[in-house]
């Protein structure tokens, strides 16, 4: 199967599209509906929408908004943010969302199991946030559970065993930097999992996407690479053509 290229769109409390750097400062990117329409016309493989304010504010998914968004979206849509119970996914599913991304709540392996048994593993995605500590050792960052140091591969394996059908492996340090993925992290995790690994965090150019795939990721996801262009980080929606990706891929092997 052709490896997937996935735009990740971050939505804030006011239903605005933003992009962060290192999970911090936000840049306004535009109206989610127009951006989704542009991606429709660019024939994007699939799209991942993350509501980055839902969990921190203890809010449930914004169903009305997501229903509208999914109705505009021609490609399969994954959604994450504020999911804490299987019954929410029931409504999300009816709203047209095909995959559920668990971030913070993926630490609850019981929920992962429940989603996998109710909706199937293909609909159950866990997002694993990884950061470097002072000794440059990578560890899993779990919001709300500071001090619990987990090795990324061990954690991913646990999620896989619980039934997650896909792991989004995200580097917090690389988020928004646009200078490439943490390829060592991908190499350390992806080959040891039997489910697909989606690389996230650090891509700025199409070549970075190709590098992640070459390092073993099953899919390359990015926020920045598809909404920014150039040295001045100008907002412009783009998506590499299959032809372009094939050429980049050939140049790496």
């Amino acid at each position: 199967m052709r490896k997937r290229i996935i735009p990740v769109l971050l939505v804030d409390q006011r239903r605005r599209l933003v992009k962060t750097i290192g999970f911090g400062p936000r840049t306004y990117v535009g109206d989610p509906f127009n951006v989704i329409r542009l991606f429709n016309e660019k024939e994007v493989d699939e799209i991942c929408v993350l509501d980055i304010d839902a969990s921190p504010l203890g809010r449930s998914p914004d169903l009305g908004f997501l229903r509208e968004l999914a109705s505009e979206c021609f490609m399969p849509m994954a959604y994450g943010g504020g999911i804490t119970a299987a019954c929410q996914c029931e409504s999300l599913n009816r709203a047209g969302i095909e995959k559920f991304v668990l971030g913070r709540s993926a630490s609850d392996l019981g929920l992962v199991r429940e989603l996998a048994s109710t909706f199937g593993s293909q609909a159950t995605v866990a997002c694993v946030d990884v950061a470097n500590d002072s000794k440059a050792t990578r560890h899993v960052v779990q919001a709300g559970r500071p001090g619990v140091s987990l090795n990324p591969l061990d954690h991913c394996k646990r999620l896989e065993d619980a039934g997650a059908g896909e792991i989004i492996l995200q580097s917090i340090d690389r988020d928004g930097t646009r200078n490439g993925y943490d390829l060592d992290l991908i190499r350390a995790v992806a080959p040891h999992l039997s489910v697909p690994t989606v690389a996230l965090g650090g891509a700025g150019e199409a070549i970075h996407l190709a590098q992640a795939l070459h390092a073993g990721a099953s899919a390359a996801a990015s926020g920045s690479a598809f909404v920014f262009i150039g040295r001045l980080r100008a907002v412009l929606v783009s998506y590499p053509s299959m032809l372009h990706m094939d050429a980049l891929n050939d140049s790496l092997s």
């Binding site: 605005r16 535009g30 127009n34 542009l38 150039g230 001045l232 412009l236 929606v237």
Partner: protein, 366 residues
């Protein structure tokens, strides 16, 4: 042209005052020969001289349309100017527009800056303008563009702007038509009357900032290099296609989906005005089209009934109104810009300004 505008008069030979005026201006505005080459060389040298020690020699706007893209090619590739390209995203970009901007920016490897207008503010302002029932519905987009242009120039220390406005396709401007988008007071007044939320980040250039930028600082000198060449859209597009993979999206004014609605539906329906007349008449004056071919093109409606339905539905949904509400807004009696507070008297003096205004007036015509 036709007699749908009372300010347009025809002489005994059937020629209107707009075309007569354009033909009279032609020798002093367009030099498609050796003199143009000389003027271009002088301009390039002047800009390079001024740009010494700076990051950029000049600024350009990139809308996704052919004129600005060809201008970028001309200035950067052919004349080696260091450009900063600026784009204002009002939330209405079409896919071909962003794809073409991308191909030019990557192909020329020029620096690019986008200002994205907060969509909830833009929407509120645009609905307010529709409720005001005035002629210039492109004003919310265009004003943001001018304001951003000046502010970006000030931020990057740029003194020269290369405008894609050109005589060949845009020489015809009827008298007493249009309204200057630069009037920030007018924007605020209409929004105060009909808007619902507040404008916090939408770039409004008030009168003091305007006077400061244009008269005190003289921030930007505006140049129109396309008037120094034998500019022809068809061949420009063909070149862009070969060199940058430019995509020909066939239709006219497709950069902004709102401008398309404005020119194809709003203007004809509310003001009985078909903007294609300006463009086609300009091409005739430029000697790039025959009158017969233009009349043949005009005999077809600009848009089919089916497309009208589709565009109304799209624009209504995006603006957060129902299609019926949007049609009611279009069909409500027209009002004059002068019915609302404005600063029109301020904007009659500057030649640079007129250039900019003409850019807004004919923008999107391909």
């Amino acid at each position: 042209m036709d007699d749908s505008n009372p300010a347009i008069q025809f002489d005994e030979r059937g020629q209107c005052n707009c075309c007569r005026d354009a033909l009279a201006r032609r020798p002093s505005e367009w030099w498609p020969g050796p003199e143009g080459e000389m003027r271009m060389a002088q301009l390039v040298e002047h800009l390079k001289e001024r740009g010494k020690g700076q990051t950029y020699d000049a600024m350009i706007g990139l809308s996704g349309g052919i004129d600005s893209a060809y201008l970028a090619h001309l200035a950067s590739r052919q004349h080696g100017l260091r450009l900063l390209a600026v784009h204002v995203d009002g939330g209405w970009n079409s896919e071909p527009a962003v794809a073409n901007i991308e191909s030019i920016v990557r192909g020329l490897d020029i620096d690019f800056h986008t200002h994205v207008i907060e969509w909830h503010e833009m929407r509120d302002l645009q609905v307010a303008f529709l409720k005001a029932a005035v002629l210039n519905q492109d004003m919310p987009q265009d004003h943001a563009f001018f304001a951003t242009l000046y502010r970006t120039a000030a931020r990057f220390g740029i003194r020269d702007f290369l405008s894609g406005v050109n005589f060949a396709s845009e020489s015809i401007v009827p008298p007493n038509f249009g309204y200057p988008s630069i009037d920030g007071r007018h924007i605020r007044a209409i929004h105060n009357l009909f808007g619902k939320s507040s404008l916090e980040s939408y770039p409004i250039m008030g009168v003091w900032e305007y006077l400061w930028m244009t008269r005190a600082r003289r921030q930007l000198t505006i140049h129109r290099p396309l008037n120094f060449i034998q500019y022809d859209k068809q061949s420009a597009q063909a070149q862009l296609k070969t060199i940058y993979g430019w995509r020909d999206y066939g239709g006219k004014h497709s950069e902004s989906r709102f401008t398309k609605f404005y020119q194809d539906i709003y203007l004809p329906r509310k003001f009985g005005f078909d903007k294609r007349r300006l463009h086609l008449s300009s091409l005739i004056v430029a000697g790039q089209m025959t009158r017969e071919a233009a009349l043949a093109e005009l005999s077809e409606p600009p848009i089919t009934e089916q497309q009208i339905k589709r565009d109304i539905k799209f624009v209504a949904k995006k603006l957060g109104v129902t299609p019926t509400e949007l049609i009611e807004l279009v069909d409500a009696p027209a009002r004059q810009h002068a019915d609302y507070p404005n600063n029109l008297h301020l904007f009659n003096a500057s030649r640079d300004l007129k250039t900019l205004l003409r850019a807004s007036f004919t923008r999107g015509k391909q």
